[in-house]
């Protein structure tokens, strides 16, 4: 519990409406996008400017009070889960687009600006911000930096780390760090990369300068059906070997296809084992050439059916099924766990076979949705938490899947982050000396461990059990957001 003296000091720093401490005001902040983890915060601070952020941090530092930074609260790994005795620092009111420089192709924005709002503001210059996490209508750029968010277009356009230039960030003792620059690199260590994806553990961001890209002249998608997931997996590698880097390359297995089709009627073929969606974008002529190449490769790879979207309406329809895959699968069972491992793509047949065997072993069905281009696998494990023991079984199954991802040379999290959810699984991926070095990196910024303590990197004594994303009854905290 925070002391009354501390709370009154905090209230003196901010206007009355910027400090929340009544239970009914605090409840909406009890979880982020992973609602299985809940904890009502002691106090919520909603600063409206950078000076207030710095003052809050200084006060917390002086009083050795922990700080959990939160943006829009759409994260999927309990990274913004409130901690007892900590201030929940919500940056959503720092929501100004400060500047768009069309000639230099940059936007300077506050952390609470929504991802999609940047592209919307840049569209009049025919520019956009490339990373497009599925929650982009709601998630904010500060959180995107904290999580190094990706999206469907990562393979070609990169993650957040590839698309930002500069940060204004504050250390826990209230010092300003200006990281990166207005040019393409900066003097010294690459702290821009170190802060990106650091899950609020190193500093608090109050301004981000992002790169903007010219909007592609044209985007077109090809849909291909396969009678075998192994053939579909091989087709992905064959497309890349043919020299095409698709803007998006997605794969779904039989259960996911059927669920999606039943839910949104995208017109998917139902008599197949796997479906690929391959989108190419860019200069008009290049798109024509690439579509031709992709269709040839898909045919040679044994696709049973190939369709090219002939209009923007059809393109969106092809995507609608894939983008609705999570909620569609959510209709098949009372609960599901979403995993987020990444594997080298060549391991796909082996990993899918093992998942299928484990599915039989555990007696739980799995639907597989896959960002095939970059190897990011989202197996959705179906279960019913009301059946005794099923939750535990699903957790154990999920743990085995992530273990398998690490075993074949992959990672436990491709894009959702570690947060609190996967903290135990970090022990499988990193050795003790590596975890020690992570703690030392944190100590270089935050020696008192006040920023988001206990998240992202496990204490050494903690390396014990597995965790996973748990959604009850398809109820996400933001049911209106697409999840893919």
């Amino acid at each position: 519990m925070l002391s009354p003296a501390f709370l009154s000091q905090l209230r003196r720093l901010l206007p009355p409406h910027s400090v929340l401490y009544e239970r009914e005001d605090l409840v909406p902040f009890e979880s982020d996008g992973l609602s299985a983890y809940r904890n009502i915060p002691d106090v919520v601070a909603l600063p409206e400017n950078e000076a207030q952020v710095a003052a809050i941090l200084q006060l917390c530092h002086q009083n050795k009070v922990a700080v959990v930074a939160r943006g829009a609260g759409t994260g999927l790994a309990a990274g913004a889960l409130p901690i007892d005795g900590a201030v929940l620092l919500v940056l959503s009111r720092l929501n100004q687009i400060k500047n768009i420089d069309p000639l230099a192709r940059t936007a300077t924005v506050q952390p609470g600006v929504r991802n999609l709002a940047i592209s919307e503001a840049a569209v009049k210059h025919n520019l956009y911000y490339a990373p497009d996490p599925s929650s982009q209508i709601a998630c904010s750029i500060g959180g995107n930096v904290a999580e190094n968010s990706g999206g469907v277009h990562c393979l070609k356009y990169g993650l957040t780390v590839h698309n930002i230039l500069k940060l204004r960030a504050w250390t826990i003792d209230g010092q300003l760090l200006e990281i990166g620059s207005d040019t393409l690199d900066a003097a010294g260590y690459d702290l821009l990369a170190l802060l990106t994806g650091s899950e609020g553990m190193l500093a608090v961001i109050t301004e981000v300068t992002v790169k903007l890209l010219p909007r592609p002249q044209r985007a077109q998608v090809v849909l291909a059906a396969f009678d075998d997931v192994v053939k579909a997996g091989a087709a992905v590698g064959n497309i890349i070997a043919a020299g095409v880097i698709p803007a998006g390359l997605e794969m779904m297995d039989r259960l996911a296809i059927q669920a999606a089709e039943a839910f949104v009627h995208a017109g998917y073929p139902l008599d197949c084992e796997a479906l690929l969606l391959c989108e190419v974008d860019g200069v008009n002529e290049e798109v024509s050439d690439d579509i031709f190449t992709v269709r040839e490769v898909l045919t040679a790879s044994g696709a049973t059916e190939i369709r090219t979207a002939e209009s923007e309406e059809q393109r969106l329809k092809f995507w609608a099924g894939r983008k609705a895959a999570f909620p569609a699968v959510g209709r098949l069972a009372p609960d599901y766990y979403c995993m987020d491992g990444t594997i080298p793509r060549a391991q796909l047949p082996h990993v899918l076979k093992r998942i299928s065997e484990m599915s039989t072993e555990y007696g739980l069905a799995v639907a597989n949705v896959f960002h095939a281009g970059d190897g990011n696998l989202h197996p959705l494990i179906l279960f019913d938490a009301n059946q005794p023991g099923e939750l535990h079984k699903a957790e154990a199954f999920g743990g085995k899947i992530l273990e398998l991802c690490v075993e074949v040379g992959g990672t436990i999290t491709g894009e959702h982050g570690v947060g609190l959810e996967k903290i135990n699984q970090m022990c499988a991926q990193f050795s003790t000396p590596e975890l020690v070095r992570f703690h030392e990196v944190k100590a270089a910024f935050d020696p008192d461990k006040l920023l988001n303590p206990g998240k992202a990197v496990p204490e050494l004594h903690r390396c014990a059990e597995w965790g996973a994303m748990h959604i009850h009854g398809g109820q996400l905290p933001h049911p209106e957001l697409p999840r893919f």
Partner: protein, 354 residues
């Protein structure tokens, strides 16, 4: 293969003896003077794994870049950041440690953008692995990218995994006579359009643009842009990448002259810092032969949103890189201390005091 290196670093740690990490020695001119015995990575050679369909290559630090690029070329792939070789002996380790990229950088990404994972030996002799061999990976802090450009001060790189990309089917280079201010504006305008631009340069009244992509796309862009087609364009960009054109040579006898790299906001108007300039990276890099005092050039770059590096020439005592703010400098020292507590790895190479 790693054991002798681990032993050597452990011994140096125990005796507080500084080591100078060296691969091919192609970039010994870069950074501040360091002190100590040479620790060579040349025994650490070989491509460990290359999966063209995965777009991932893993190689040991001492592997020559030329060998890696030849292997990639067999599969019609490339290192898209177009790393400089500076004379030919460059190795993968040095390439990543220096973090330098070539002409394609503004359009394809930098060395740091393509690093997926590294293995290092830290300053206590502890082998560590960060990142991995997959394109998407957000587990743990991004220590692999922290190593890029750290000039070996945080650890000896022993292996790196990189994302590679297909070679473009076609490339062509166009030239336009244009004054400096108009060239800077044009570079920026074109970068905001859907065009297959892959390199830009301006020097002595000549704007040079490279287009890369599908044959049809390059032809369409060429028709749109006009200009004169440059023959032997591969050699032009390679000489720029490796700084083997006469512009980059320091004039004998002009002992105060240095080659400076000013990285600035790309739209920065012409710098009034002398005539000997070469512009690259869409306006973001201005190469400059100058005898101005370092402080003046650091200040000039800073006022244009960037930073300056004394690239070749006599290093001043204050160092060849732009000074950091006190808060950032303290953080750098602190990070160095965590990875190399006794300061034995490339001591002074990045900043003279650590």
């Amino acid at each position: 293969m790693l054991e002798p290196l681990i032993e050597r670093i452990r011994a140096a740690h125990a005796s507080h003896s500084p080591l100078i990490i060296q691969g091919g020695g192609s970039k010994t001119f870069y950074g501040n003077p360091d002190e100590g015995e040479v620790l060579s990575t040349r025994a650490l050679t070989g491509v460990v794994d290359y999966q063209p369909k995965e777009l991932v290559l893993t190689a040991r630090a001492g592997t020559p870049l030329a060998e890696i690029e030849a292997l990639l070329a067999e599969q019609n792939q490339m290192l898209a950041f177009e790393p400089p070789h500076f004379g030919g002996a460059a190795t993968l380790g040095g390439c990543i440690a220096a973090g330098l990229s070539g002409p394609r950088r503004p359009y394809a990404g930098a060395a740091r953008d393509f690093v997926l994972g590294v293995r290092i030996i830290d300053g206590t002799g502890q082998p560590l692995r960060f990142g991995g061999q997959v394109i998407k990976n957000v587990a743990g802090y991004d220590v692999s990218r922290l190593m890029v450009g750290a000039l070996g001060t945080l650890g000896l790189l022993t292996e790196a995994s990189l994302k590679v990309l297909p070679k473009p089917a076609a490339e062509t280079t166009l030239q336009f006579e244009l004054d400096e201010a108009s060239a800077i504006e044009k570079m920026n305008q074109l970068a905001g359009q859907s065009l297959p631009l892959s390199a830009t340069s301006w020097h002595a009244g000549l704007l040079t643009l490279r287009l890369s992509g599908a044959v049809s796309a390059v032809h369409a862009a060429q028709a749109k842009l006009g200009g004169e087609t440059l023959k032997d364009s591969a050699a032009f960009w390679q000489r720029l990448r490796d700084q083997s054109t006469p512009f980059f040579e320091l004039r004998p006898g002009a002992s105060n002259q240095s080659l400076w790299r000013l990285a600035v906001k790309p739209t920065t108007p012409p710098l009034k810092l002398g005539d000997a300039q070469w512009i690259e990276w869409g306006g973001a890099v201005r190469w400059l032969i100058s005898d101005l005092p370092p402080a003046a050039l650091f200040a000039a770059a800073n006022s244009c949103g960037g930073h300056a590096t004394l690239f070749r020439g006599h290093a001043p005592a204050s160092g060849v890189f732009s000074p950091l703010t006190p808060a950032l400098h303290a953080l750098h020292r602190n990070l160095k201390q965590r990875f190399d507590p006794r300061g034995i790895l490339n001591r002074g190479r990045l900043y003279p005091d650590f």
